[in-house]
């Protein structure tokens, strides 16, 4: 209900920050900073550095991801960039290029 949704035809060029879940179906370029979860859906395109608690990617992400809890790359996603998070899940079918760092210990 309180979720923020960036619809499929929306293009944001700039910074997004907030304390709630964010669902991206459109395009975001720049920077994303959240205290909750980020969902990049199948139609979503993110060209941004991401800093959140959880990230779930089913679409495309280009940029570095820093998650304090978990990063999940679903099948059919395409991710280019470094991921830094204590828990990283990469599903079968996901495409990923970059460094993985799970060394970040619990918050």
């Amino acid at each position: 209900m309180a979720n923020t949704i960036i619809g499929s035809s929306i293009v944001i060029d700039g910074e997004i920050s907030g304390d709630e879940d964010l669902v991206i179906q459109g395009t975001v370029k720049g920077k994303i900073q959240l205290k909750e979860s980020l969902f990049v859906e199948g139609s979503g395109v993110v060209e941004a550095d991401i800093e959140t608690q959880n990230v779930e990617v089913a679409g495309r992400v280009t940029g570095n991801i820093l998650a304090s809890d978990k990063v999940e790359l679903k099948s059919d996603c395409r991710v280019v960039g470094d991921i830094k998070s204590p828990r990283i899940l990469i599903a079968d079918g996901a495409s990923f290029k970059g460094n993985v760092d799970m060394d970040v210990k619990e918050r």
């Binding site: 949704i5 619809g7 139609s43």
Partner: protein, 213 residues
């Protein structure tokens, strides 16, 4: 990506939640509901809804805008702009249809253009007659009022009772001395100058009032 423009699914509208801040440029082809903050530039080919918790500090280009929250910046709408009861806006509005509801707060210019003269003509006369008669109606009586004041001597005897309180007050004493000093006139006239001055002051106040309205 842009194909699902006309998707009737209401749930897919873009929503910017109350704790979200977007700064930068936002463009799109679908309805956008803002409950949080958007700063920068915002252009949509459809409707922007700024809800009561929403704050938009941006130059906005949309088809329709419905403002229940706060907008600081200019809005250019190809169809309509509506400020609802809770809407607050500072900036210029440019749209063929502009609706400002009672309770809304707005500071800025409105330009409805010249398109659709039938509509705008119907809306404008409502606002103007209120302002126009008020100005000429009060300036006209003000003119005759000045004339007797300049030919004041006949009028002053009538107002003569008013000056006595002036000498009674200690604070007003500095005022009476100058007139006798400057004019060194007959004893009957000294009371007159303060009266004229008082009348002049009153008239100035009246003019200010008319200008203010």
């Amino acid at each position: 990506m842009a194909i699902p423009k006309e998707s009737p699914v209401v749930g897919e509208n873009t929503v910017i939640g109350p704790s979200i801040l977007i700064s930068g440029r936002l463009t799109g082809d679908e309805d956008l509901t803002v409950r949080g903050r958007v700063e920068g530039e915002l252009s949509l080919s459809r409707t922007l809804i700024v809800e009561t918790s929403g704050v938009v500090k941006a130059n906005v280009t949309v088809r329709n805008a419905i403002v229940s929250g706060v907008v600081v910046g200019n809005i250019t709408a190809s169809e309509s702009v509506e400020l609802t009861r809770d809407g607050r806006m500072v900036g210029d509005i440019r749209a063929p249809r502009v609706i400002i509801v009672d309770g809304a707060s707005f500071r800025g210019r409105v330009d409805m253009g010249e398109a659709e003269p039938g509509r705008t003509a119907a809306e404008r006369p409502i606002a103007r007659p209120v302002a126009r008669p008020a100005v000429p109606g009060r300036t006209l009586p003000a003119l005759p009022a000045r004339a007797p004041a300049t030919t004041a001597r006949t009028v002053t005897p009538l107002r003569a009772p008013t000056p006595p309180p002036a000498p009674a007050r200690p604070g007003s004493k500095p005022l009476p001395p100058p007139p006798p000093a400057g004019r060194t006139a007959p004893p009957a006239t000294p009371p007159a100058p303060p009266v004229v001055a008082a009348g002049a002051k009153k008239k100035v106040v009246v003019r200010k009032a008319t200008k203010g309205r």
